[in-house]
């Protein structure tokens, strides 16, 4: 019995929950703890900017949210109308990301199946296998950071 519980615990800790979402038809995963929420796409105003992929802000009530153009970074086009808004817990504060209208899912992945990259890219930290397909694992807290 004890052995069984210990075995279960081991199983629990070897799993990681990720949010799987799609942008322009391509699926991405991100740690569940890095996603604050999924909401309807809000009103947006463009902001002339020299920061790569950050060139608009959205607002919810009186809260101003910078928008990260994930589709632009991966040269994808979002055709969903209306898209959804993923609220990412960026290290500089909450950030909005435009994603496809397909509702993201929570998925547990085996930590052992996650292949970490060499660390040069702070955003794409590795790949994980979901439904037998490799999916880029993103670090949403580092969106916009350049590869070393």
């Amino acid at each position: 019995m004890l052995q069984s519980q210990a075995s279960e615990k081991k199983t629990v800790f070897s799993k990681q929950w990720v949010t799987v979402f799609s942008v322009g038809g391509r699926r991405f995963a991100a740690g569940m703890e890095e996603v604050s929420g999924i909401v309807q796409w809000p009103s947006v105003v463009p902001v002339p900017s020299q920061t790569p992929f950050v060139n608009a802000v959205a607002w919810r009530g009186k809260e101003v949210l910078p928008i990260f153009d994930l589709a632009g970074q991966f040269q994808l086009t979002i055709e969903s109308d209306p898209p959804l808004c993923l609220l990412a817990k960026h290290e500089d504060g909450l950030m909005a990301v435009c994603i496809d209208s397909d509702m993201p899912i929570l998925q547990s992945v085996d930590r052992a199946s996650i292949q970490l990259s060499d660390g040069a890219d702070p955003v794409v930290v590795g790949t994980c296998t979901i439904d037998d397909q490799p999916i880029d694992l993103l670090c949403l807290t580092k969106l916009g950071k350049s590869p070393a």
Binding site: S43, V45, P46, V47, P48, S49, Q50, T51, V54, V57, W59, K62, V64, L65, P66, F68, H90, D92, G93, M95, G144
Partner: protein, 179 residues
């Protein structure tokens, strides 16, 4: 009818600043009222590189183009206006697509540009505020009028601790706003 819209909450605002909201393409931006010296119809200045008003000469530019070299304001629109701006040291005239409103806002209504913006835009914009359920970008007056090849020489100005002294204000442009 006055352009002025008062957004301040108190009946007798003491620390408000005026912002002239303009439209450039899809963007709404505001120019601090303390830096505005005059307004002209763009169509009347289309073929001029400089504008002289009350003995002072303003070099003409396109605001949309200053922010994004791939964009320009519509040159022959009847709604287009050219705004004469100065910070007391430098002068410049900017064409915009149209004037939306003149508003008074309190400093507490101004939201800083989120820290995620890390480029030159931090120098271009002094913050944002809400107007008619949308966000408006406040243009940094000193950046707007200072020639691109000039570096501020006063350390406190460069550090953003004080602004350059202005010579006048919107009151002379919009007499009705004094009431």
């Amino acid at each position: 009818m006055s352009l002025l819209v008062r957004k301040s909450r108190s009946a007798a605002p003491t620390n408000v600043n005026q912002q002239l909201i303009v439209e450039c393409g899809p963007m709404r931006m505001s120019i601090p009222g303390k830096g505005i010296r005059g307004l002209l119809k763009t169509i009347e200045t289309t073929f001029q590189d400089t504008i002289t008003l009350l003995g002072e000469t303003y070099e003409k530019s396109d605001l949309a183009n200053r922010l994004d070299p791939t964009k320009t304001v519509a040159p022959f629109s009847s709604q287009g206006r050219t705004i004469l701006c100065s910070n007391g040291v430098w002068r410049k005239a900017y064409a915009v697509d149209r004037i939306i409103s003149l508003v008074e806002i309190e400093p507490s209504d101004i939201v800083p540009l989120p820290p995620h913006f890390r480029g030159a835009e931090r120098e271009w914009f002094a913050g944002l505020f809400f107007f008619e359920d949308a966000l408006v970008l406040i243009i940094n007056l000193d950046w707007l009028v200072t020639p691109t090849d000039v570096v501020p020489w006063r350390s406190e100005v460069a550090a953003g601790q004080t602004s350059l002294k202005s010579e006048g204000g919107l009151m002379s442009v919009f007499p009705s706003s004094q009431t």
